[in-house]
C-alpha cells in the first residue's frame, strides 16, 4: 500500500489506483455536491411510483394552473391540473432511461470499434470512414430519419442519440488503445506470445476503462438534453407519458399564464445535466491530476 502510493503509473495495480482516484474525488467539494444532486435525482426517479404525490397523468381540472406552494401541489399544476412535481419525477425517470440506453448503445458499438481501430492498424482507415459517415448525420437529422422510418418513441430517440455518440466513443477508445499499446507491459505481453484477444481483453480494456467511464459520464447529460429536445419537438416520448421535453412543449402554450410549468422542468433538466457534467469533470481531474493542475 505504502509503496503503491509513491508513484501512480500504468504499472501500479489497478485496484490501488482506483482507491486513489475515489479518494481524490471525495476530497473535491464540488464533486461531492454533484454526486449528492445526482443521488437525489436518481433516487427520486427510481422510486417515483412510490414517492410522487400524484399520478403523473391524472388530471385535476378544478386545480388547473395552481401556483407553486398550493397544498398538495408543491410545484404547482399545469393547464390540465396535473401535478408538476410528480410529472418531473416521472420525467426524470424517462430522461435517465434514455440517457442510459443511448450511452449503452454507443458503448456497445463504439468500444469494440475503437479497440479494433487502435489495435489493428489495417482496419483503422475503414473504421474512420465509418466514423465520418456517422458524423455526417447530426443527431437530430438521424432522429428525424428514424422517426420517419420507425415512428417516434423513447426507444428510437435513444437509438438515434446513441448512434450519434458512437464517433466520440471510437475516437477516445482508439487513442487510449494506441497509447496503451505503446507501453512496455503491453509490448511485453505481445512479445511473450499472448494472443490479440487476450492482450485487448486482459491488458488494454481494463486500463482504458477509466477513460470510457469519464466519456460515459459526460455522454449521459448530452443524451438527456437530446431526449428533451426530441420530445419537445414531438420526435421522442409521446404524450401523455411524462417527459421533461413534452412538459416544456405543453407549457409553451400557456407559459405567460403559468410560468412555473415552463420553468420547473427546465431547471430539473439543467440540474441533472450540471450534476453529471460536474461529476464527469471531477472524475477526469481525479484520474489525471497533472492535466488539471497545468
Amino acid at each position: 500500500m505504502a509503496v503503491a502510493d509513491v508513484t501512480v503509473s500504468a504499472g501500479t495495480p489497478l485496484s490501488s489506483r482506483r482507491r486513489k482516484v475515489v479518494r481524490r474525488l471525495l476530497r473535491n467539494p464540488l464533486a461531492i455536491t454533484g454526486l449528492v444532486v445526482l443521488g437525489i435525482a436518481v433516487f427520486a426517479a427510481l422510486f417515483a411510483p412510490w414517492l410522487a404525490p400524484h399520478e403523473p397523468t391524472d388530471t385535476h381540472l378544478s386545480q388547473a394552473f395552481a401556483a407553486p406552494g398550493t397544498p398538495g401541489y408543491v410545484l404547482g399544476t399545469d393547464d390540465l391540473g396535473r401535478d408538476v412535481l410528480s410529472r418531473i419525477m416521472f420525467g426524470l425517470r424517462a430522461s435517465l432511461h434514455v440517457g442510459m440506453l443511448a450511452v449503452a448503445t454507443s458503448l456497445a458499438i463504439g468500444v469494440p470499434l475503437g479497440l479494433m481501430a487502435g489495435y489493428f492498424r489495417t482496419i483503422d482507415a475503414l473504421i474512420s470512414r465509418f466514423t465520418d459517415l456517422v458524423l455526417a448525420f447530426p443527431f437530430l437529422i438521424l432522429a428525424v430519419g428514424l422517426a420517419a422510418i420507425r415512428g417516434a418513441s423513447l426507444g428510437n430517440a435513444a437509438i438515434a442519440i446513441g448512434i450519434a455518440q458512437i464517433p466520440g466513443v471510437i475516437r477516445i477508445v482508439r487513442s487510449e488503445t494506441l497509447r496503451l499499446k505503446s507501453l512496455d507491459f503491453v509490448s511485453a505481453a505481445i512479445v511473450e506470445g499472448a494472443g490479440d484477444l487476450w492482450v485487448i481483453g486482459r491488458h488494454i480494456l481494463p486500463n482504458a476503462a477509466s477513460v470510457i467511464i469519464v466519456q460515459a459520464t459526460v455522454a449521459i447529460p448530452a443524451a438527456i438534453l437530446g431526449e428533451a429536445v426530441l420530445s419537445f419537438l414531438g420526435l421522442g416520448i409521446q404524450p401523455p407519458a411524462p417527459s421533461l421535453g413534452t412538459m416544456l412543449a405543453d407549457a409553451q402554450q400557456f407559459a405567460a399564464k403559468a410560468p412555473w410549468a415552463a420553468v420547473m422542468p427546465g431547471v430539473a433538466i439543467m440540474l441533472i445535466a450540471l450534476a453529471f457534467n460536474i461529476v464527469g469533470d471531477s472524475l477526469r481531474d481525479a484520474l489525471d491530476p497533472k492535466a488539471s493542475r497545468r
Binding site: 420517419a148 427546465g266 497545468r294
Partner: protein, 317 residues
C-alpha cells in the same frame, strides 16, 4: 500539401457516396409501399402505376440508385408530396434563414467563448477564472431550447425587448432582420460558446507555458502584446476546429431554435416534413445536411492547414 489536399478530397467523396447510399436505403426502409406514400390520399391503381413509372420504382435497386444520384447531382431534389412545390424552391427559401442564424450564432459564441477563455487562462486561480469556468459548465448543461423559452417569456413577452417570434428578410429590412435574430442567435450560441471557451482556455494555457512566449517576454514585449498576438492566432484555430467538430450540434440546435422562435428556416422544414410524412422533403433534408456537413468539414480542414503552419509543413514533408 497537394497530396494532403487530394487525400482529404478523396476521403470526402467516399463519405459523400456512403452517405448517399444510407439515405437511399433509408428511404427504401420507410414503412409501406413508397408509391402509396408518394400518392398520399390518391390511391387509385392508375396513378399508383404512374408514380411507379415516374419514380422508377419497378427498376432494380442499382438502377434506382443511379437515378437518385444523377437527379440529386443535377440539383433536382424532387417535389413535396404535400404541396407539390419543388423541394429546391423550399430549400431556397429556408436555407438563407438558417445560414444567417448559424453564422450569427458562431459569431456570438466566438466573441463570448474566446473572451471568457482568454480571461480564464490569464487570470489563473483568480475569481475571474472560476466565474468563466462556472459559466462554461452552465452553458454545457442548460438545455438551449428551454433558455429560448425563458428568454421569450421574460425578455420578449414581459419586457418587450425583442420580438418573440417571426422573421423579416435581411434585404427588405436589415435592422428588423437583426432585431429578430439577435435572441435566437444568442440562444443557439450558448452551447458553442461553452465549448469554445474551454478549448481556448486550455490552448492558451499551453501557449503561455511554451518557450516562444518566454522568448517574447524575455525580449521585452509587453504582456498585452504577447497575449494579444498569440491568443488571437490560437483562438482562430480553436474556433475553426470547433465549428468543424460541433457542426452537427449546431445544425441540430438550429432546428430547435427555429422551432421556438417560429423562424421559417431549414429546421421548420425538417420538422414539418416529418409530421406530414413528406418523404421527398425528408430525403432531401437529410441528403442536404450530410452533404453540407462533409463539404464544410473539408473546407474547415483546408482552412485549418492554412492557418496552422505546423499542418502545412507536415503535409509537405
Amino acid at each position: 500539401m497537394r497530396r494532403y489536399l487530394l487525400h482529404r478530397l478523396w476521403q470526402s467523396l467516399v463519405t459523400l457516396l456512403l452517405a448517399t447510399i444510407v439515405v437511399f436505403l433509408g428511404v427504401r426502409a420507410l414503412p409501406g409501399d413508397p408509391a402509396l406514400a408518394l400518392a398520399g390520399e390518391d390511391r387509385d391503381p392508375e396513378s399508383l402505376r404512374a408514380i411507379r413509372e415516374q419514380y422508377g420504382l419497378d427498376d432494380s435497386l442499382p438502377v434506382q440508385f443511379w437515378q437518385f444520384v444523377s437527379h440529386a447531382a443535377q440539383g433536382d431534389l424532387g417535389q413535396s408530396i404535400r404541396t407539390g412545390e419543388s423541394v429546391n424552391t423550399m430549400l431556397r427559401h429556408a436555407l438563407p434563414v438558417t445560414i444567417e442564424l448559424s453564422a450569427l450564432a458562431i459569431l456570438v459564441a466566438s466573441l463570448i467563448g474566446i473572451g471568457a477563455g482568454v480571461v480564464a487562462a490569464v487570470r489563473r486561480g483568480r475569481p475571474a477564472e472560476w466565474a468563466a469556468n462556472a459559466l462554461a459548465l452552465l452553458g454545457l448543461s442548460v438545455p438551449n431550447f428551454w433558455l429560448g423559452l425563458m428568454a421569450i417569456l421574460y425578455l420578449s413577452v414581459a419586457l418587450g425587448l425583442f420580438p418573440a417570434s417571426g422573421f423579416v428578410p435581411f434585404f427588405s429590412d436589415p435592422v428588423g432582420n437583426l432585431h429578430h435574430l439577435v435572441l435566437p442567435a444568442l440562444i443557439l450560441g450558448t452551447g458553442l460558446a461553452a465549448v469554445i471557451m474551454r478549448q481556448t482556455r486550455s490552448s492558451m494555457l499551453d501557449a503561455l507555458s511554451a518557450d516562444y512566449i518566454r522568448t517574447a517576454e524575455a525580449k521585452g514585449l509587453p504582456p498585452r502584446a504577447v497575449i494579444g498576438r498569440h491568443a488571437l492566432r490560437n483562438s482562430l484555430i480553436v474556433v475553426v476546429t470547433i465549428v468543424g467538430l460541433q457542426l452537427g450540434a449546431l445544425i441540430s440546435g438550429a432546428v430547435v431554435t427555429e422551432r421556438i422562435f417560429a423562424l421559417p428556416g431549414f429546421g421548420k422544414l425538417t420538422v414539418d416534413a416529418v409530421f406530414q410524412r413528406d418523404y421527398p422533403v425528408i430525403q432531401a433534408v437529410v441528403l442536404v445536411t450530410a452533404t453540407a456537413y462533409i463539404v464544410i468539414n473539408l473546407l474547415v480542414d483546408l482552412l485549418y492547414s492554412v492557418i496552422d503552419p505546423r499542418i502545412r509543413v507536415r503535409g509537405e514533408a
